[in-house]
C-alpha cells in the first residue's frame, strides 16, 4: 500500500519542504527495530546528504535504547522516530541539527509510553542561520495504565540570523494520572554581552560565536557511539555558519 504524499496541512509535515518530500516519494519502508526485553541498543545517525529517515523503535520491558542524531546535510533532512516503550523501558534521544542557507531540517518524534515505569529523555538542540528552518515536533503519549511514566523533552534553538526559523512543538497526551512529564522549549539568540566579553579578551567575532555554539550543543553527544565523529562534524558545520 502506498501512502498519499503528505502536505503541510498534515501536522507531522507542517514545516516540511514538500517539494523535497515529493522528490523522494515514495519513501522506502520505515526501518523497524525491536529491542528485546532487558536488551541494550544504541544507534548514531549522521544525516549529511538530505535524506528522510523513518524508524519504528520498540523497546521491550526493562530494555534501554539510545539514539543520537546529527542532522546537518542537504536541502531537506528529516529524522522521524516512532518509539514504543514497554514496562520499565528507557529511551534516550540526543539530537543536534545545524542548518544554514535555505536548509530545512526536522526531527519528528512520537514516544509512546505503552506500559508503566518507562522513562524517556529527549534533548534537542538546533542552530539555524541564514534562511534555514529547523523544527522539532515531539509527541509524548502516555497510555491509560502507564503509571510512573517519567518523560523529559528539553528543546532549545539558537537563531543566528533573524531570517532563520525555528519551530518547536513539544506535545503531551496523557491518559494516566501518576506520571512526570517535563517539557521545555526555548528559542534564542547568542547573548550579545557574552560575545562582547569574549571579544574583549581577544577572540575574533567568529571564534567567539563558535565557542558559544559549541557550548550550546555540548553534552548532547555524551556517551554516543562515534562521539568524536559527531563532535568534529558538528564543529565543522558550526564553523561554516559563523
Amino acid at each position: 500500500m502506498t501512502n498519499p504524499l503528505p502536505s503541510n496541512r498534515n501536522e507531522a509535515w507542517r514545516y516540511s519542504d514538500i517539494a523535497a518530500v515529493e522528490a523522494a516519494w515514495p519513501l522506502p519502508d520505515p526501518e523497524n527495530i525491536m529491542v528485546p526485553a532487558g536488551g541494550d541498543f544504541a544507534r548514531a545517525i549522521i544525516q549529511e546528504s538530505g535524506t528522510i529517515h523513518q524508524i519504528n523503535l520498540t523497546i521491550g520491558a526493562g530494555a534501554n535504547a539510545a539514539i543520537h542524531v546529527l542532522n546537518i546535510g542537504g536541502a531537506y533532512g528529516r529524522i522521524e522516530l516512532n518509539v514504543t516503550l514497554h514496562d520499565g523501558a528507557d529511551f534516550n534521544l540526543g539530537a543536534v541539527q545545524i542548518g544554514g542557507e535555505t536548509q530545512t531540517l526536522e526531527i519528528v518524534t512520537t514516544v509512546t509510553h505503552a506500559e508503566p515505569n518507562a522513562t524517556s529523555n529527549q534533548i534537542v538542540r538546533s542552530v539555524l542561520a541564514k534562511k534555514a528552518t529547523g523544527s522539532y515536533l515531539g509527541k509524548v503519549a502516555v497510555a491509560r495504565d502507564a503509571q510512573k511514566t517519567d518523560s523529559v523533552q528539553d528543546v532549545k534553538a539558537m537563531v543566528l540570523d533573524r531570517t532563520a526559523t525555528a519551530n518547536a512543538k513539544p506535545e503531551l497526551e496523557i491518559f494516566a494520572d501518576d506520571v512526570q512529564c517535563a517539557h521545555g522549549a526555548t528559542v534564542g539568540e547568542l547573548d550579545k554581552q557574552a560575545l562582547f566579553y569574549l571579544a574583549s579578551r581577544g577572540l575574533p567575532p567568529a571564534e567567539a560565536k563558535k565557542l558559544m555554539l559549541q557550548a550550546f550543543v555540548a553534552g548532547v553527544f555524551d556517551g554516543a557511539q562515534a562521539q568524536e565523529e559527531f563532535t568534529d562534524k558538528a564543529l565543522a558545520k558550526l564553523g561554516g555558519l559563523v
Binding site: Q193, L198, A199, R201
Partner: protein
Amino acid sequence: MLQIENLHATVGDKPILKGLTLTLNAGEVHAIMGPNGAGKSTLSYVIGGRPGYEVTQGSVTFNGQDLLDMDPHERAAAGLFLGFQYPVEIPGVSNVQFLREAANAQRKLREQEPLSGGEFLKLAKEKAALLKMDMEMLKRPVNVGFSGGEKKRNEMVQMGILDPALAILDETDSGLDIDALRVVGDGINSIMRAPDKAVLLITHYQRLLDYVQPDFVHVLADGRIVKTGGAELAKQLEAEGYEAIAA
C-alpha cells in the same frame, strides 16, 4: 600610551561623555572617581569598543594607533584589557579553554607563536596562585556560580594571563571583602606595576587606592574630568564627598 581627546559619546542617543580629555603615560596608575551616572562605566566601554556606545566627537589613541578604528578583539591584541564591573557568566564555556583560545588569538594577530597546552596551563596556574584562586575554578564555566568576589578575582587572573600593556578596571573593588581586596590589590600591583604598563582604575571608593597607589586621581562629573590631583585628592573626596569637590 593612551591619549583621550575631547571625547563625546552617546548611549542610545543620550549624551554621556561630554568632552573628556585624559592622558596616561607608561608606568602610571590613574584613578577615576565620580558620582553615579557621571559616565565612568561608559568611558570603559567606549575604550573597549562595546557595541551601542557611539563616539560622536573626539579621539582615543593607544600607542599611536587610532583605537576607535579597531574592533574589540583587535584592541585586546594591541594590549588593552578591560576589567568588567559585572563579569558575564557564560554557561558551558570553560575558563581555561576560552582563555587559551583568547590568548592565542591575540598572539596570532601579533604574529607570535601560539602557546602550547602545557605552556598555557603553567601560566594559568601561576596567575591563579597569585590571585589565590583555586585552579579547579578556572576549569569551570566562565563565571557561572561564582560569587561577586570570585568573579572579580577571575578578572584579575585573566588579566595576568593575557598580560596587557593597559588595563581599564571598572569597579574591580566592588563586591570584594577586605581580604579579597588586598589580594586583588596585590595582584594589580604585581601584574601591572611596570615601567611599560599603565592602569586606569575606575572606582567609587578610596579603599582600593590604599592598596594600589595612584599617581593621579581624576574626578569625573557629568561626562568630563572636572578636577585632577594626586593620591591625596582621593582622601579628600572620601572625607568631603563629590559635591563639594566637583562643584
